[in-house]
């Protein structure tokens, strides 16, 4: 019933030829109002993006606003939220576990993001080589990105097992001691950072798209001018990749702030030893779904949102100095 109603109202309006609406004759009216084509395009355009508009309202605007409101309340999910003012924010700034989780997350981001960019760029350059079997390399380098974080975590748990894991067996072979990397507060972070590098395939594909977007003629000209591979990379490849680098940098930072699954699995949901793998997102999750303090968790989420926003804006602002949008111009 609703389907027929939909098709009778919306479908013909799209198919409607412009003949019913008369074209405005004078240029004055054309400037002030819209032409019939413009109007029709606007209607069709908005109709086509209507799912996105609904999505933004229901899945972004409403929850973000509601999160902000909830962050000023005490709310268990059962009873009605009670207003507590900025209490949650005061608690957040004095909570030692928040401080711990924040410093863990910063530690993670500071190492994982630059390392991730380096790995992804290396992979992309390898994926872009003019060799016959290049399709094979692309597949191989991307394949580990298909391994979900939870499965990769299990692989690392086995790999790093202090009794029979390959990691310790190799260490022993060289006369090294048994190291329980996952039993050490810093070691567990490093393990998670290394683990994350196997998922560099997605960022690498985006770098690859950027590499293939650089006109070959620029390299040709550089070669004629006698520039070697190193010089070509510094003078051409890197500057022209900076827009893509910016994209990968921001998504990388955003992802690092939200690191969760690996830590959850590796530490079996605890974040231990010594809260070494208690990342911000994990503490947020525990607060919300473990302790049922949804108001406090909302405040933590809002703070994470603000931190992410501030970082993104800062990166954008700094990027004006190094991001080069002249690919087409060159």
């Amino acid at each position: 019933m609703s389907a027929t109603g939909l098709s009778s109202t919306s479908a013909p309006s799209i198919a409607e030829p412009p003949s019913t609406a008369t074209e405005p004759a004078s240029g004055r009216r054309r400037r002030r109002g819209m032409t019939a084509t413009n109007k029709r395009n606007l209607r069709t355009g908005l109709l086509f993006i209507s799912p996105w508009i609904v999505g933004v309202l229901v899945f972004i605007l409403y929850p973000v606003t509601y999160s902000i409101v909830l962050s000023f309340t005490r709310y268990s999910g059962m009873d009605a939220p009670t207003w507590v003012g900025v209490q949650n924010y005061i608690t957040a700034f004095t909570d030692p576990l928040v401080a711990k989780a924040t410093s863990n997350t910063i530690f993670f981001a500071l190492i994982a993001v630059p390392l991730g960019l380096l790995v992804a760029l290396t992979l992309a350059i390898a994926m872009n080589q003019n060799v016959r079997e290049v399709a094979l390399y692309r597949t191989i380098f991307y394949a580990p990105s298909l391994i979900p974080a939870f499965a990769m975590s299990f692989i690392f748990i086995v790999f790093l097992n202090p009794q029979f894991g390959l990691f310790n067996q190799v260490l022993n072979l060289f006369g090294g001691p048994n190291i329980n990397l996952l039993g050490d507060p810093t070691g567990v972070k490093i393990a998670i950072i290394l683990m994350a590098q196997f998922g560099a395939g997605n960022a690498a594909l985006i770098f690859l798209a950027g590499l293939r977007n650089i006109p070959k003629t620029i390299y040709e000209a550089a070669r004629v001018d006698g520039a070697g591979p190193g010089r070509q990379f510094v003078a051409i490849t890197f500057p022209l990749l900076t827009p893509v680098l910016l994209f990968n940098l921001i998504t990388g930072v955003s992802g690092a702030l939200q690191v969760f699954t690996e830590a959850y699995i590796v530490t079996n949901g605890t974040g231990d030893p010594d809260a070494g793998a208690l990342f911000y997102m994990m503490y947020l999750y525990k607060t919300a779904f473990g302790f049922a303090e949804l108001g406090y968790a909302s405040a933590l989420a809002v703070l994470l949102f603000l931190a992410g926003l501030a970082l993104a804006l800062m990166i954008f602002w700094l990027s004006r100095r190094f991001v080069n949008y002249d690919v087409e111009a060159a």
Binding site: I14, G55, Q169, L173, V224, F260, T261
Partner: protein, 305 residues
């Protein structure tokens, strides 16, 4: 006199032209001679070994017996192939139920994502409406919104609708567009010549007809790319099922592995765990290998400006 110089000059000019040919060939993307790529190949083979290690390690460990797993030095190929590990892994949890739930979620998410994002991206790329490019900035802005800030209200909303513990909270949002896919598809759609679309419009084709008959078939590589990204994200989602699905009957494979491990916390059978992990990844691996060619093309041809 000239005759003695002529071959020399022609030889050197031949040399130059050969160099230029070489440059052109490289620029065109054709192969260099094998020796010039030897070093590059060595690096790539080393990288390949490193990146295949997790998959290799997982599949080999999954086939070893308990004793062989603890053996040192580790065997590169299992001495005895313990396929029984796979049977044990499947029997250790309601594997079929979990698999079915994962499959339902993933299939629905892929279909909804491809359809909704394609129509939205088409509007942003191929229909010329006022305010379009400004609104596209908003699309890009939502790309950088961290999801935790929507987490609790969304849970609250689904709870009020009585849909927690059903698959709907993990499926329905896919119908409403996602910034990254819109962005990806728009880049691709921008390359369709506008003249072709306008010609169809002049011929009286409706915008829907143009979308389904012209734009959609042209965009197959980009659609495969979105489909694979969406499939990987849905199949591998851990936090979504962790939050929304509590009953075993609606649980997915990603949580299934975790349960598997918790149950056996004291005495974990790592070979069975690896077997289960490998079974979880297998459908995605197959999907990727089948569509690999389209996938890489979809993301690289689209460019990134």
């Amino acid at each position: 006199m000239t005759s003695t110089f002529t071959p020399k000059t022609s030889l050197s000019s031949l040399q130059v032209s050969q160099d230029r040919d070489e440059l052109n060939r490289r620029a065109d993307g054709t192969r260099r001679p094998w020796y010039s790529t030897l070093a590059a190949r060595a690096v790539m083979v080393a990288l390949s070994v490193l990146f295949l290690l997790p998959l290799y390690w997982m599949s080999v460990s999954s086939l070893k017996s308990d004793e062989e797993l603890a053996q040192f030095p580790p065997t590169l190929i299992p001495e005895t192939w313990e396929f029984g590990n796979y049977v044990d892994a499947v029997l250790a949890m309601p594997f079929l139920t979990f698999f079915a739930n994962s499959a339902i979620i993933t299939t629905s998410v892929v279909v909804l994502s491809v359809l909704s994002n394609f129509v939205i991206a088409y509007s942003f790329a191929c229909i010329d409406w006022p305010g379009r490019d400004k609104l596209f900035y908003v699309v890009i802005a939502t790309l950088f919104l961290p999801f935790p800030v929507t987490l609790i209200p969304m849970f609250d909303m689904w709870a009020r609708l009585g849909l927690v513990n059903t698959l709907f909270p993990l499926i329905i949002p896919a119908a409403f567009g996602s910034a990254f896919y819109i962005f990806l598809l728009r880049q691709f759609l921008k390359q369709i010549p506008q003249d072709m679309l306008n010609a169809a419009r002049v011929d009286g084709a409706s915008e829907w007809t143009i979308v389904w008959r012209l734009a959609l078939p042209t965009s197959r590589p980009a659609l495969v790319t979105v489909a694979i990204f969406a499939a990987v994200a849905a199949w591998n989602d851990f936090m979504g099922p962790l939050i929304y699905l509590q009953d075993e009957s609606v649980q997915t494979l990603s949580i299934g592995l975790q349960t598997f491990r918790s149950v056996n916390a004291q005495d974990v059978s790592f070979n069975q765990l690896m077997a289960a992990s490998f079974l979880v990844i297998l459908p995605l691996l197959l999907l990727f290998f089948i569509f690999q060619r389209y996938f890489i093309r979809g993301i690289t041809i689209g460019g990134f400006k």
